[in-house]
């Protein structure tokens, strides 16, 4: 069973001393170089005004200007071709320097790209777009191929889950702006940051000690998806904990299904019982996994609930970076260490540490401390609009790859007596209760003054 991160192949530096050639031979470092290259190009284009480096995808279709499936690509042909060539070239350079199968990659990559296009196409249907995003469709397409006709051997050189996912995560780092934690005040911080680690610790102990799940990375990936923000958090945790592909697949599958349920029914129920919009918004923001689902659910309960829900979720979005870093350190120093092994020293931690996390954190720090203060929030937002397009494509390519590498027979052994399902349900229930309690304590006037919201 292959890992999401394959230590023996790409991630662990095997020599005792740091070797400068690692900077060009290891996938982790290439993820950093590619991520920062895309960020630099996007930044230069935006600042100079000379060009926009856009990563386009299919139009929303099924109604209005784009009624049919085919029309979803109207006017996008040349831009998609440019995207294919651009991403193909920069990734193939990395493959060449890492001495991987370049010829095979050049043949296979366009096909994986087309499959990712299909995933985006399905997710852009005017109804489906509100329920199931590209991750679901990419996994589904990959699994359908691998479990029916089988993944052809010639396609495998471009089935590079780790390469895509790490590059996408470095790009995601730029989107983590610390300033947003400060903007939203102590109340928002209390709801988002007080609950998150408690739920994470609860789920870890429940999964490892009570359910006795054997795959510890799976426990942390599901816990992160539940307590932070769904798919994005699951991806970051999976890469930081060197999880298996199946771990991520289960976590993403569970969070996608239950997010839809919570997105639709929480605002209905909370409105029906007459819950205060500020409290309801905070509760939904702290518990519904996907950020878009939080905004939709919040708005369904009214503008005030929408603002508060978005605010709380935004803080959780920012937490991804620091928690992913902590997970990487924890797994490198504790979980990967066998019983009886001596304590891990600094050099050993460095050897085991997934290096791309450094790029992930560095991107966040650079955009928070340098880019946003110097260029302003509007320009930073427009740069992120460009980089997030590429981040989405890399994640989509990664999910296609995961699907192509997985088969249902192997996946059944990861069911662990329903452990992942029980963990998610119990953890999410605990999350719901604790978030409501903390939100009520902070926002009801019991402990602190009820905050006065501007414009309401």
């Amino acid at each position: 069973m292959s890992n999401l991160v394959t230590p023996e192949k790409s991630n662990i530096v095997t020599s005792d001393k740091f070797n400068f050639s690692d900077l060009f031979r290891k996938e982790d470092w290439w993820a950093i170089w590619l991520g920062f290259f895309i960020m630099a190009i996007a930044l230069m284009g935006k600042v100079s005004g000379a060009f926009d480096l856009k990563a386009v995808k299919a139009h929303g279709w099924g109604t209005g200007d784009y009624p049919s499936l085919i029309s979803a690509f109207d006017g996008l042909g040349s831009q998609l071709l440019f995207l294919l060539v651009f991403v193909g070239i920069i990734t193939v350079i990395g493959m060449a320097v890492m001495r991987e199968d370049v010829k095979g990659y050049i043949v296979a990559f366009p096909v994986v790209f087309v499959l990712a296009n299909l995933a985006y196409l399905f997710s852009k249907h005017y109804v489906i777009k509100n329920y199931l995003g590209y991750a679901f469709w990419a996994l589904g397409i990959g699994l359908l191929i691998s479990n029916t006709v089988g993944t052809p051997k010639w396609l495998k050189p471009a089935v590079r889950t780790e390469y895509y996912i790490k590059t996408g995560l470095v790009l995601l780092g730029a989107e983590i702006l610390f300033s947003n934690v400060i903007k939203f005040g102590l109340y928002g911080l209390g709801i988002a940051w007080l609950v998150t680690p408690i739920v994470l610790i609860f789920m870890w102990n429940y999964g490892t000690k009570i359910l006795k799940m054997t795959s510890k990375p799976m426990v942390i990936v599901i816990a992160m998806a539940t307590s932070v923000c769904g798919v994005s958090a699951a991806i970051a945790a999976a890469a930081a904990a060197k999880a298996k592909k199946e771990d991520l697949t289960f976590a993403v599958g569970l969070t996608l299904i239950f997010t839809v349920i919570m997105m639709v029914f929480m605002p209905l129920i909370l409105s029906a019982v007459g819950m205060d919009p500020m409290l309801g918004g905070a509760w939904m923001g702290g518990t519904i996994d996907a950020t878009g689902a939080v905004v939709l659910a919040g708005e369904a309960m009214g503008p005030l609930a929408g603002q508060v829900a978005a605010m709380v979720k935004m803080i959780q979005n920012v937490l991804i970076g620091i928690i992913a870093f902590a997970i990487a350190v924890f797994f490198a120093t504790r979980v990967d260490r066998k019983d009886g092994d001596p304590a891990v020293g600094a050099s050993e931690i460095w050897h085991r540490f997934p290096k791309f996390i450094l790029g992930f954190i560095a991107a966040s720090v650079i955009f928070s401390v340098l880019v946003e203060p110097s260029l302003g929030t509007d320009v930073t937002g427009s740069i992120l609009k460009l980089t997030k397009g590429f981040r989405g494509w890399f994640f989509c390519l990664a999910f296609i790859s995961i699907g192509l590498e997985s088969n249902f027979k192997d996946m059944t052994q990861y069911l662990q007596g329903g452990g992942p399902l029980k963990l998610y349900i119990v953890g999410q229930s605990f999350n719901l209760v604790l978030t409501l309690l903390i939100a009520w304590l902070l926002l009801s006037g019991v402990l602190f003054p009820i905050p006065q919201l501007a414009g309401f």
Partner: protein
């Protein structure tokens, strides 16, 4: 939570979890096919995983309209944020140690 039925042992927590999951899957399929709450009229939804995936994220999350909730003192925030992070890490490690 287990019981025996004849020679077979039934894990009730698994049965309940599976029922919840299958029920959720059926409801999701129904919601997508019927779209009873007309969510398709909204520009965002469960497919937008991160805040930047949301259409108009700059206005919703990065705009000037901020909610003045409590203090905005940078030092206080930093201390609370970092302090709670460190405390959580130690709590996590301590629980790991005593539960071994």
């Amino acid at each position: 939570m287990k019981a025996t039925l004849g020679k077979k042992q039934i894990d009730f927590s698994l049965v309940i979890s599976l029922m919840l999951f299958l029920g959720a899957v059926i409801v999701v399929i129904y919601l997508i096919i019927v779209d009873p709450f007309n969510l398709s009229s909204q520009p965002y939804g469960a497919g937008d995983y991160y805040y930047t995936d949301v259409d108009g994220f700059q206005d919703i999350f990065l705009g000037d309209t901020r909610i003045p909730m409590g203090t905005k003192h940078l030092f206080l925030f930093t201390v609370i944020f970092v302090g709670w992070s460190v405390f959580s890490c130690y709590l996590f490690l301590w629980l790991e140690k005593i539960n071994k």
